[in-house]
């Protein structure tokens, strides 16, 4: 896997043109689980293939909560959450580029180079109570009515939807 990533990184860095085409023609994705491809974006549409967890996919189209993808074994529609968008390799490349651009690369001292305070475990342990800031935060507290007015302004309408329950395969 690691070798693959490196190879892909290398290839990607050599071929920015290819990358641009992918952005237009289709986004890369990874299968988060085994799933069945459907000929249409409906759960009861007929099967048009399948993919396995970890498989690289090409995302062709998005429609509502469905993605049309190209997999090794066919092309078809799957639910949005069966697919991780982007690939790990491209994101590590991005991270690397950003790190280099911000002067972070290699220092390992993000806090000291950027001057922005982090929120590491150590920072949290060392933190001192700040009464003034809590008071400020509390000064922004809104009432339920104010929340409702804000929702109305955005034409947000409540709907009936009971809380989701844990799925069967959910790791407890």
């Amino acid at each position: 896997m690691r070798i693959n990533l490196k190879a892909m990184l290398f290839a990607a860095s050599l071929m920015p043109i290819l990358h641009a085409q992918m952005a237009i023609g289709g986004e890369a994705g990874t299968a988060l689980k085994n799933d069945t491809l459907r000929a249409e974006p409906f759960a009861d549409a007929k099967s048009s293939g399948s993919f396995t967890r970890g498989e690289n996919l090409d995302i062709l189209k998005k429609q509502g909560a469905w993605l049309q993808v190209k997999a090794k074994k066919g092309t078809g529609w799957v639910r949005l959450l069966s697919v991780k968008r982007g690939t790990t390799s491209s994101s590590s490349q991005t991270a690397g580029v950003l790190a280099a651009a911000s002067g972070r690369a290699g220092t390992g001292q993000v806090v000291s180079t950027t001057g922005v305070r982090g929120l590491s475990e150590e920072d949290l342990k060392a933190a001192k109570f700040n009464e003034a800031e809590v008071k400020t935060m509390e000064s922004y507290t809104l009432s339920a009515d104010q929340g409702r007015q804000f929702a109305n302004a955005g034409d947000l309408k409540t709907i009936a939807f009971s809380n989701l329950k844990a799925g069967k395969g959910d790791a407890k």
């Binding site: 949005l80 991780k84 475990e121 933190a127 700040n130 935060m137 809104l142 929702a151 947000l156």
Partner: protein, 329 residues
């Protein structure tokens, strides 16, 4: 660190239990102040028994139904819940069965410590916007009655925090990743879910009951305010600790449910998880988030399993990117 516990009352109440306690002998095994922690294993079962028997929304009088009075945990509840918490701090929190006011007082302490690590972004319009979204989503939760408050804090880390009683913070680094209001609603909904289910409060309760139970066994330590407050400190470090994975999945399910009920496009939270999942693990901005939460990929799979076909007929949810507040810097 401020002193949270005034020990007089604790000492007098709890010392009555000393004689009968087998744990007093155990304490003799270690004379270090850390003994409180060493006793955790011994007391764990007793305390879990006490805390687990209370459902999340337990009525205030459920303590009366607890039959056991021989454990230190039960002793901690012998104080009437009427003890004022408020701004006086956490002097006499009824850790066994804290009232709403006490819960808020605890959350306030932790929020204040978090803000000590990373203050609010100095942008009143931003804070007002986040409070508006958060308040609306919280109103669709099971605890709409809490005085919910929200804040964007000065940190380029990617994270969000909830403390008991409804103090919720999101880092500027995470806010920066968002592109619409539905995503913000999903993130805030996740944190609201933690508060509704009292996930952090339960962790604190267990810890405090353990510490109280262990601490008062030695009058030497109980007399020392500093040691006690250190042991019982409700500092921001609680936010650096992991909850059970199941608590995170539960908060994800609730967050998505609240945002959906609020009229938002339901997939806001999952979009944010997609974005975070693309951040390299070695990036320090996600170090704490990845340490304290299941990987976003796992969370997406779990949410996907929970959703199944439940959203298939949900239409018309809004993303409201047009009014999404843009950071000034």
């Amino acid at each position: 660190m401020r002193t949270f516990i005034k020990n007089d009352k604790l000492t007098s109440t709890h010392s009555k239990l000393l004689a009968s306690s087998l744990l007093a002998a155990l304490l003799g095994l270690s004379s270090m102040p850390g003994a409180a922690l060493d006793l955790k294993g011994v007391l764990k079962d007793a305390v879990e028994k006490q805390t687990n028997t209370q459902p999340a929304a337990a009525p205030a009088d459920s303590a009366a139904k607890q039959p056991e009075a021989s454990t230190p945990a039960a002793a901690a509840s012998s104080e009437p819940a009427a003890a004022p918490a408020g701004e006086a701090g956490l002097k006499e929190i009824n850790w066994k069965n804290p009232s709403k006011e006490e819960e808020i007082a605890v959350g306030r302490e932790i929020a204040g410590n978090l803000l000590g690590a990373a203050p609010l972004v100095k942008d009143a319009a931003l804070q007002k916007y986040v409070n508006s979204v958060g308040r609306w989503v919280a109103s669709q939760s099971e605890r709409a009655d809490l005085p919910w408050r929200f804040g964007v804090i000065e940190s380029e880390d990617i994270n969000a925090f909830a403390t008991p009683g409804g103090y919720i913070m999101i880092t500027k680094g995470l806010y920066r990743k968002l592109t619409n209001e539905a995503q913000l609603a999903g993130v805030l909904g996740h944190e609201i879910g933690h508060v509704v289910k009292k996930h952090q409060l339960k962790v604190l309760q267990k810890q405090q009951l353990l510490n109280i139970g262990a601490g008062f066994l030695s009058s030497k330590y109980a007399k020392d305010n500093k040691l006690i407050s250190k042991a019982i400190g409700t500092g921001a470090e609680i936010s650096a600790r992991s909850l059970d994975k199941s608590a995170e999945y539960e908060a994800d399910r609730l967050g998505l449910s609240y945002a959906t009920r609020s009229g938002y496009e339901p997939y806001g939270l999952t979009e944010v998880l997609q974005i975070i999942g693309q951040t390299n693990k070695s990036d320090s901005s996600v170090a704490l988030l990845f340490k304290t939460h299941p990987h976003p990929d796992e969370r997406l799979v779990a949410l996907g399993d929970a959703i199944g076909s439940r959203l298939d007929n949900i239409k018309g949810g809004k993303t409201l990117e047009n009014r999404f507040y843009q950071l000034k810097n």
